[in-house]
């Protein structure tokens, strides 16, 4: 180890604003900062353009009304609130619905080539929980289009990109954030980055579970760094299980099958060949959901009087239904259910509309989806909970620290609608950039405290320097299996309590973890460093899940079934206590603004007839 901790020899880089994460949110935030004249740094763990956003498939939601002119921001807002079981931050849901169309158009200006309607406009597709075709898309590779457009535009905006560089800890000057200690993956050397404001866009927490659609990057780094720096975290119990992940072969278990398959007509069948979703329509959605196959089929053919097929209910509902079918012994060969598009569309149409799904199944499962059904089951996919932020500026409870994208929370409430993430990234990435600009304008030059830097370096080098210790990969798997078993789709008090004590044990193991060899591009060292963050997330999710004694959206408690009116009044806040322990707090929510409440709770017919809050624009 040539890398003995010493602050004076440390490479130091200074920017006005530092954005951590180069997915959709980070790139959009960095573009905005640069546009505002700030010296902007952008750090990411992978190469540029490889962030999770690249994997998004189905599309981005924006009420442009290109396919169905009845769509409007109010209907999008209403869908988002209902999908989130009314626990969403009202203002964020409003801003998101209003601003998403402009962000999509802007992306087109920067080079994105969306699929077109017959009139040559941006086409929009149906998705679960969205009343109208609303997702701007490019086949089933929308994320690639989004990230590449931002990347290709962004590299001409004077942003300083630091690729394959991992942030370890936030540095603080008193209350406020003043930079970050990071390491270069290719050399293992440390680098200190100073900034007046830091924007976290680090994505989700999926790697705390084994069966997940998420990549190795999703180790909750931003969430944990913010927590350790004193920021409050919001509603962590809401972890979305996507209903359709691959289940076979084992090596791809969890890999996503886009909701676009169902949006384009795909249906779910149990092993008896029965279309079971008709048995799982909850009262909230019953008035707007088809109750016969005939009606569902008419809807698909574009009959505007018909109601939506139940396969397009929100993700929490569909995931629970699949879970129940499997538990009842009606699952598929490998413990999922069947998703059939082959009998619904001509082979050529399937290849055209869902090319990467066709590919994925052909190459990885040897299944031809134009001829055979897919086997699917729930997979941990998205974190609705995250860092608490201000709706307008995205500032966290720590001055100078901002967050946007999946690592932030509020917009999606108890359950996210598909397609609402990509639009979230752009709307709030931009807003975070503006917020950081405002903050940086009056912030003093960053002042670094050497002791904090040293502590962070020492934690990292200890992993290499100790003589023996646990294998980090093995420990990561233990945690993943433990979370899958105890903090899954259906939760109970006793399992959650088991998880809390298991996490404690895993944490003491993680303190003794050992990585061999040098710090240069060392997978074991990287995995060992990530463990701390994953365990913060695992503990936060588990404790929040224990606290919320009801079932709402993606959080289902077997011992507390159904939504409880009482609990709608509360958010669950997680923060670090004075002694370093995790503190969980039930915090009363502010009531929503009158007009927004009226829109969210309106009957759809009234809203569309212009009878609800017509003057609220």
């Amino acid at each position: 180890m040539s890398n003995g901790p010493s602050v004076s020899e440390l490479q130091t880089i200074e920017h006005d604003v530092l954005v951590i994460g180069a997915g959709g949110a980070g790139l959009r935030a960095a573009i905005e900062c640069s546009r505002q004249g700030l010296n902007t740094g952008l750090v990411c763990k992978s190469l540029l353009g490889k962030a999770h956003t690249v994997m998004a498939e189905g599309g981005m939601a924006a009420a442009m009304g290109n396919v169905d002119a009845r769509d409007s921001w109010k209907v999008h807002f209403r869908d988002t609130m209902r999908g989130g079981k009314f626990l969403n931050n009202w203002r964020m849901a409003e801003l998101h619905a209003k601003e998403a169309p402009d962000r999509v158009r802007e992306l087109e200006e920067w080079g994105a080539v969306f699929d077109r309607t017959k009139e040559g406009l941006i086409s929009q597709r149906n998705f679960g929980g969205h009343r109208y075709p609303r997702l701007a898309h490019v086949g089933d590779r929308t994320g690639l289009e989004l990230i590449r457009s931002l990347q290709d535009y962004g590299v001409h905006q004077g942003i300083h990109v630091h690729m394959e560089c991992t942030a370890l800890d936030l540095m603080k000057d008193g209350d406020r954030v003043c930079g970050v200690l990071a390491y270069w993956r290719d050399t293992g050397r440390f680098v200190l980055m100073k900034a007046k404001a830091v924007i976290l866009c680090t994505g989700g927490v999926g790697k705390a579970w084994r069966i997940t659609s998420n990549s190795w990057e999703y180790t909750a780094d931003g969430l944990a760094m913010a927590y350790l720096a004193g920021a409050e975290l919001l509603d962590l119990e809401f972890t979305q299980f996507h209903p359709t992940g691959m289940v076979w072969p084992p090596s791809v278990r969890g890999t996503l099958v886009t909701e676009g398959v169902r949006g384009d007509g795909g249906i779910l069948l149990n092993k008896e060949g029965k279309r079971f979703m008709f048995n799982y329509i909850s009262p909230r959605f019953a008035p707007e959901t088809a109750d016969t196959e005939a009606e569902a089929n008419r809807w698909l053919q574009g009959d505007k009087a018909a109601r939506r097929p139940p396969e397009l209910l929100t993700r929490d509902e569909v995931a629970r239904a699949i879970n129940a079918e499997v538990k009842a012994g009606r699952g598929s060969e490998h413990g999922g259910v069947y998703l059939d598009i082959a009998s619904r569309l001509p082979a050529e149409t399937i290849k055209k509309k869902l090319p990467s799904m066709y590919h994925q199944f052909k190459e990885l499962a040897e299944v031809d989806i134009t001829k055979q059904p897919m086997e699917v089951g729930p997979t941990l996919h998205y974190h609705m909970g995250g860092i608490l932020v201000d709706a307008e500026t995205q500032m966290t409870t720590v001055p100078g620290l901002f967050a946007a994208g999946e690592c932030a929370a509020g917009l999606h409430g108890a359950n996210r609608l598909g397609g609402n993430s990509l639009s979230d990234l752009l709307v709030f990435g931009r807003r975070a950039g503006l917020g950081a600009k405002e903050f940086a304008a009056s912030a003093p030059a960053p002042k670094i405290d050497d002791a904090q830097v040293l502590a962070s370096m020492r934690r990292a080098t200890d992993i290499l320097n100790r003589d023996t210790g646990t294998n980090p990969f093995v420990l990561q798997e233990q945690m993943q299996d433990m979370m899958g078993k105890n903090v899954g789709i259906i939760r109970t008090k006793s399992e959650l309590e088991t998880a809390v004590s298991e996490i404690d044990k895993l944490r003491s193991e993680a303190d003794k973890v050992k990585a061999h060899s040098t710090s240069q591009y060392n997978a074991g060292w990287h995995t060992a460093l990530d463990l701390r963050n994953l365990l913060v997330a695992a503990e936060g999710v588990t404790r929040a899940a224990l606290t919320r004694e009801e079932s709402r959206g993606a959080h289902t408690r077997e011992d507390f079934p159904g939504e409880r009116e009482e609990w709608l009044k509360y958010n669950v806040i997680v923060k670090r206590g004075a002694g370093g322990e995790m503190v969980v707090e039930k915090r009363e929510r502010k009531p929503g603004p009158g007009p927004l409440v009226a829109i969210a709770q309106s009957k759809i017919e009234d809203l569309e007839a212009g009878k609800v809050e017509p003057d609220y624009k």
Binding site: M55, G111, G524, W525
Partner: protein, 247 residues
């Protein structure tokens, strides 16, 4: 589970060697699964890039039994049951460590290419483009930047003309801009002089390795070469095309 033998190149830019590993391989495994298992059981410091494990991000490029491929899309059952699997880093770029190479050069090429300069929106605030007019551009935009085509192109791989030719990936990028219905920028002169389109002698090796099945040579490079030739011989035709719209 069946035991399989792997030879993986271990080392850095000072040199290295193939190291043999034996692991049990499960049903449906791809080469990347095997690399992960080797990391976990035998070589925790083994360096290898990956992200999506589904052929969508272009991170896990490597040379498997001599062919540039994505580790996550190469199934173990595509090899003979006794076949030893040899894995090494991309040859066209400097090694950082083990299977990880320094691909920064590619990012520098991208930066040199003038970005989209869109025309004004219609009076109704929309850009109008017909699907059939964007099909080709969408084909190019499927590119996941795996750089396998760059690795295979002999101009870069064997002749190391990195300072002369941007390589097939960026010919695709240029074509996606030049054929973009909204674009008003002109890159044709640069194509020859700065980006080196003349170095390509249409061997089609790049097309063969592209995991996205992009018609790199026929659909992107040849039409771009034609534009360059048109321009050199017939500036008038070019002027009319530019003014009257056909790109």
């Amino acid at each position: 589970m069946a035991e399989r033998t792997f030879k993986i190149w271990r080392g850095n830019n000072d040199g290295g060697e193939f190291v043999e590993y034996k692991i049990d391989v499960g049903p449906g495994w791809v080469v990347l699964d095997c690399v992960h298992r080797i990391q976990q059981q035998h070589a925790t410091d083994l360096a290898c890039r990956w992200n999506c494990k589904a052929g969508k991000c272009g991170s896990c490029s490597m040379e498997i039994n001599g062919k540039p491929r994505l580790g996550c899309m190469t199934r173990m059952n595509s090899f003979g049951p006794e076949e030893v699997i040899t894995i090494q880093p991309l040859k066209a770029f400097p090694v950082i460590k083990d299977l990880v190479t320094d691909v920064k050069w590619n990012y520098e090429q991208n930066k040199r290419i003038p970005p989209l300069k869109p025309k004004a929106r219609g009076a109704d605030g929309h850009h109008r483009m017909m699907q059939e007019d964007v099909d080709r551009v969408q084909e190019f935009r499927k590119c996941i930047e795996c750089f396998l085509c760059q690795d295979t192109c002999h101009v870069l791989r064997d002749h190391e003309k990195h300072d002369k030719f941007v390589g097939p990936r960026f010919m695709v990028r240029l074509a996606s801009l030049e054929m973009h219905p909204l674009d008003t920028e002109d890159r044709v002169d640069k194509m020859r002089k700065e980006f080196g389109s003349g170095w390509c002698n249409i061997t089609r090796c790049c097309t063969e390795v592209c995991p996205e099945h992009i018609g790199i040579t026929d659909n992107a490079i040849i039409p771009m070469k034609e534009r360059v030739v048109d321009r050199t011989y017939d500036p008038i035709a070019w002027f009319f095309r530019k003014v009257f719209g056909k790109k």
